[in-house]
């Protein structure tokens, strides 16, 4: 059964460019989405990725009927709901409880339905006794959490999710992931739009890559994310990679990345300034004469915050022979701030810089509060009095 069907859908915006001095404004057409056709079967989670302006959000707007298409037909089977942060629908004078009814109705819930779910929504939001206080007294975090809690309890056959997981703290995000997983298991068809490739990889059955209003690629999350990565990799190494890929048929796949503490026990992470050992398991399918192995740590919005790579440490060649290999990066003092980070790993051919495999794992790295950080990261350092004699020197870690 097909729940969502896009049939040759286009959306055109008419744009009036601001008039230059003495000239009439020139109207122009901009095709946000052009002749897009795809289907989402019942129960599938489809991700849509692509650079800004690719048409992802327009697809969502068309689906949720916020705006009408310029051409084509969209067919939907089932009740549609959009999992968006609707704090904007709140009224500051009303209490949290009153706003749940208001916001819930705006999202399409019946009053009876809201009343039945009220307790669960309040619990999910975690605002506690503040629920009977006008929302104008809420912190911005509470505001957003309550807005999202309502949306997360919509009963829908088709759920549209747009960039919502960048909301709230790490604990709340995990809660949101769990809720989405729960809805998936219940057989809700989902359309997921995000820049967060880790979430896309974790949550989606299938992914569409959009670029300039058309579908550039479709397939399994891993394949499409790799295609996207190649598309956005605009440095020369990235372009070289395509050419070199054919010439150097060395092949490897990253299987997993796991973390260990100083005692060799497997852990979910460490604390700021604490030791961390990252182990990369690689299946080498055909030998690579000189390889580069890298581990990446990403922020929620997909920015690379930190990368550890073999070449930075060893100038000599790193040949990889066929079979399962494990490689460990040891960091005595991890400098990342407390939070949850996405983890990736890659294997490259050193001479051509060709990416042989690029892995966006399902792993998350948890960093607990440790060394006090002000600024973006912690770096190991010490201090001493510089104005007194050598023998009176004190030193201390900060």
């Amino acid at each position: 059964m097909i729940d969502i069907r896009f049939d040759g859908v286009s959306k055109r915006y008419r744009i009036r460019r601001p008039a230059a001095a003495g000239e009439a404004p020139t109207p122009g057409d901009f095709w946000a989405v052009r002749d897009v056709t795809f289907e989402v079967p019942h129960g599938e989670t489809l991700g849509i990725i692509g650079p800004n302006g690719a048409g992802k959000s327009t697809v969502l707007k068309l689906l949720s009927r916020i705006t009408a298409p310029s051409a084509g037909t969209i067919t939907l089977d089932g009740r549609v709901a959009a999992l968006i942060e609707v704090g904007s629908g709140f009224h500051p004078e009303l209490t949290g409880r009153e706003n749940i009814f208001l916001s819930g109705s705006i999202l399409g819930m019946k009053r009876r339905e809201i009343a039945a779910k009220l307790e669960r929504i309040i619990e999910f939001s975690g605002v506690g006794s503040f629920i009977d206080v006008p929302v104008k007294w809420y912190s911005s975090g509470m505001y957003v959490r309550l807005g999202f809690a309502i949306a997360a309890h919509l009963e829908a056959d088709i759920l549209l999710v747009d960039e919502v997981l960048a909301v709230g703290d790490a604990a709340f995000q995990l809660q949101c992931y769990e809720r989405i997983g729960e809805l998936r298991r219940q057989g809700t068809t989902m359309l997921f739009i995000s820049h967060d490739l880790t979430s896309v990889d974790r949550l989606c059955d299938r992914v569409l890559l959009m670029n300039a209003g058309v579908i550039a690629a479709a397939g399994s999350p891993r394949d499409v994310i790799r295609a996207y990565d190649q598309m956005t990799d605009d440095n020369s190494a990235g372009r070289l990679a395509d050419a070199a890929h054919v010439a150097m048929p060395g092949a490897a796949r990253v299987v997993d990345v796991t973390f260990r503490n100083e005692h060799g026990e497997e852990v979910r992470g460490t604390r700021t300034g604490g030791p961390l050992c990252a182990r990369v398991d690689i299946d080498v399918l055909s030998p690579i004469a000189d390889a580069v192995v890298e581990v990446f740590y990403y922020s929620r919005d997909g920015r690379t915050l930190h990368c550890q790579q073999t070449t930075a440490l060893t100038p000599e060649m790193l040949p990889l022979w066929e079979g399962r290999r494990s490689l460990e990066f040891t960091c005595p003092e991890m400098g990342l701030q407390p939070g949850v980070y996405a983890v990736g790993a890659s294997v490259r051919d050193r001479t051509s810089a060709a990416a042989l495999d690029w892995w966006y794992g399902t792993r998350l790295l948890m960093i607990e509060p440790g060394k006090n950080v002000r600024g973006y990261f912690y770096a190991p350092h010490s201090w001493r009095w510089a104005d007194v004699a050598e023998r009176q020197r004190h030193s201390a870690d900060v």
Binding site: L62, A68, I74, V86, L94, L102
Partner: protein, 274 residues
């Protein structure tokens, strides 16, 4: 639920379908209207009193200016009562139109994020204005007791008249709100339009002073027949000018469906231009 979404150029004349969609959103209409009323009075000290005070103050001012100074005739009724019986429906109309016209642009955040039939927004302001109207009726009852006008069965005419008034206000709101999304000039010009409209309707003067040769043009304005009939019903007398009311009914019956279809046509691309 099977939904087919097509380009805006098709299906906007299917008023029956629009109404069916709207019916699925009655809960939202109820919640938003309730919210409208409660918010309106939540932050004001005098609360519900404001609903009553507005027509009442206007009545006092009009009585001083138009009756005592300008000596406008009032069909043998005390001018205060004469003015108030027209101000009550007029305030309903003007408040609903003023708020309803701006209702879409003040909810840009919602319109660009969630779908619901957009006509719900102007309609909630109409409901809020109706609430004020009911409050105003209480004051009218006190006024009538003061002037010793006993209630008669003529009062019952208020109910169908109210339906007609709301239908006409709705037609005006739908058109102005839809245009306002594209051209904000409407919002700027609105206070002047409403003011002129009041003087073009028999609110401060009786219908009888309007010269006969203007009457055809005058009666095309549905507010003429509605206001005059309201006044007659509230003053416990038979409706004096039936042709004016008939004209109002015909104009409303023709304009409302067109206004609704126009609104729905504009709705399809509202989120793009708001």
């Amino acid at each position: 639920m099977h939904v087919v979404i097509r380009p805006a150029s098709r299906g906007w004349l299917r008023i029956d379908q629009h109404l069916r969609t709207l019916a699925a959103y009655t809960d939202l209409l109820y919640t938003l209207s309730l919210h409208r009323i409660s918010v309106r009075y939540k932050q004001t000290v005098a609360g519900v009193l404001w609903a009553v005070l507005q027509p009442l103050l206007m009545m006092v001012i009009f009585t001083i200016v138009f009756s005592k100074l300008a000596r406008i005739p009032s069909e043998g009724v005390p001018y205060a009562l004469f003015a108030y019986t027209a101000l009550l429906p007029w305030t309903l109309f003007s408040t609903a139109v003023a708020n309803g016209t701006n209702s879409l642009v003040t909810h840009t955040q919602l319109i660009t994020k969630v779908y619901f039939p957009r006509e719900i927004l102007p309609v909630t302001y109409l409901v809020a204005a109706l609430f004020d109207f009911v409050m105003g009726l209480v004051v009218l009852a006190l006024l009538m007791a003061w002037y010793r006008v006993p209630p008669t069965p003529y009062l019952l005419a208020v109910i169908p008249l109210l339906v007609l008034l709301c239908a006409w206000a709705l037609a005006v709101m739908l058109v102005l709100a839809a245009v306002q999304v594209r051209f904000r000039d409407v919002g700027v010009a609105l206070p002047v339009i409403v003011q002129l409209w009041m003087f073009a309707s028999p609110v401060i003067y009786p219908l009888s002073v309007v010269p006969g040769r203007w009457r055809w043009w005058y009666d095309v304005n549905p507010m003429t027949g509605i206001i005059a009939a309201f006044r007659d019903a509230l003053l416990q007398r038979p409706i004096g000018d039936v042709p004016a009311l008939q004209a109002g009914i015909v104009v409303t019956a023709v304009v409302l469906p067109i206004a609704y279809a126009f609104f729905k046509r504009a709705e399809a691309t509202m989120a793009d231009v708001i």
